[in-house]
Symmetry: C2
Subunit: 264 residues, 2 copies
Amino acid sequence: MIITVQRVIDRLIEPVGPLERTVDLLKSGRLDAEVRKVVVVFMATYAVIQQAVESGVDLIITHEPTYYNHMDEVAWLANNQVFERKRRLIEESGISIFRLHDYIHEYKPDGILIGMLKKLEWEAYANPEELTLLTLPPDERHTVRTLAAHLKNKLDIDSLLIAGDPEMQVRNFGFLVGASGGRSHIQYFESRNIDLLIVGETNEWETNEYVRDAADMGLPKALIVTGHQNSEEAGMLTVVDMVREAFPQLQVDFIASPPAVMRI
Amino acid sequence: MIITVQRVIDRLIEPVGPLERTVDLLKSGRLDAEVRKVVVVFMATYAVIQQAVESGVDLIITHEPTYYNHMDEVAWLANNQVFERKRRLIEESGISIFRLHDYIHEYKPDGILIGMLKKLEWEAYANPEELTLLTLPPDERHTVRTLAAHLKNKLDIDSLLIAGDPEMQVRNFGFLVGASGGRSHIQYFESRNIDLLIVGETNEWETNEYVRDAADMGLPKALIVTGHQNSEEAGMLTVVDMVREAFPQLQVDFIASPPAVMRI
């Protein structure tokens, strides 16, 4: 029996069951197309798609959207030269692109989060009931600065943003990947009574200002912002393992992208 | 006749006329309170409010919200210790806080934008019909990198983010302060056919990825992200000038804040 795009998708959504409302759709290609080669990425960039097409990939599994907005709406992009060129590359190649965002975050545990915890070697710190909540063992002393150094080292990050005192001792911390929003960040801070929150991306007027105020009040609160891609990309390795295990005959590769922006 | 909070607000909204829907409200204090001392800020942080209260300020005019969300909704913050402590400081002091966001952006020209152009000494580059669109004179050769250096120098920024080739020659560029959103950024890029867009803040999966793709296609497109505060704070100097001119007897001071986050 040949492996089709549909069979791979069935495997990816199986841990959750079909969601009624989701951005996880087949963005291009055909459900009945045969799959021999798969690449897994955080973001289906133009460079990634070009590389995939040139190496004969049939299916790209991407965590984030293709067309610069969460819903992948395209009407507003009509005649935009970047959009049109990307769409042409995708359509002429016939490559299939499936977005895997909502499902993987719904896996038990969250597939992105567990992938990141593995990459960071933080699985043992995580509360088994709530993997976003981490507690350091009493004999491991860390400050905001040493945890930032660990993140930079394990995730190959040049620099990251912090609010609060970098020399503050950290006992417990939260790890919310991606951009879950200011309310999510601020409510997490308060309800878990954590010292430090590590997030992917913020709106500057929300989480950043909350932690600035908390620190200015003398409260032991700090924030690390890693960048969105840095906080989730390695989490997609979960998908590489899943697809390889389900379909050993497939070639499944992971492509990490350079950061979209650089700091100067 | 004494100067009241109401009279100062009347002056601030006079260039536009009352807006039906706006976030520009009196966040604390009383419209009939007398005003002798005013401070103008980008963000009414805890530190700013404390400093204002200690120095006997009657009215703070702030561009951004007080409580970590654009609408300054507070129900979700009930019992949050940072919120409660900030609110207590404000209420016990009786200080008046007026948000000036929508009105100042509606001034003709946009008060924030014109203040930033002055600070950057870029007024002469701006298209008189559309001040966000700047064209360099033929004898001034700039690259993305040299424009970034100019921004860092004039706005006292340690570092900023860029996408695209830093050595790319720039002929014309857009300057969209704050966080106007991915669609706004991307449509501006396309409709004005600019080489470079300078913005305050982005969602990483939107504008950043659009410019990454454009650059990977070989298109001459680049992006500079200054940070939200960096892109608007000096624009509030427009308000300092306005209030001083309208009410020469008032003491009107500007307080610049350090960045909420630092890069390590």
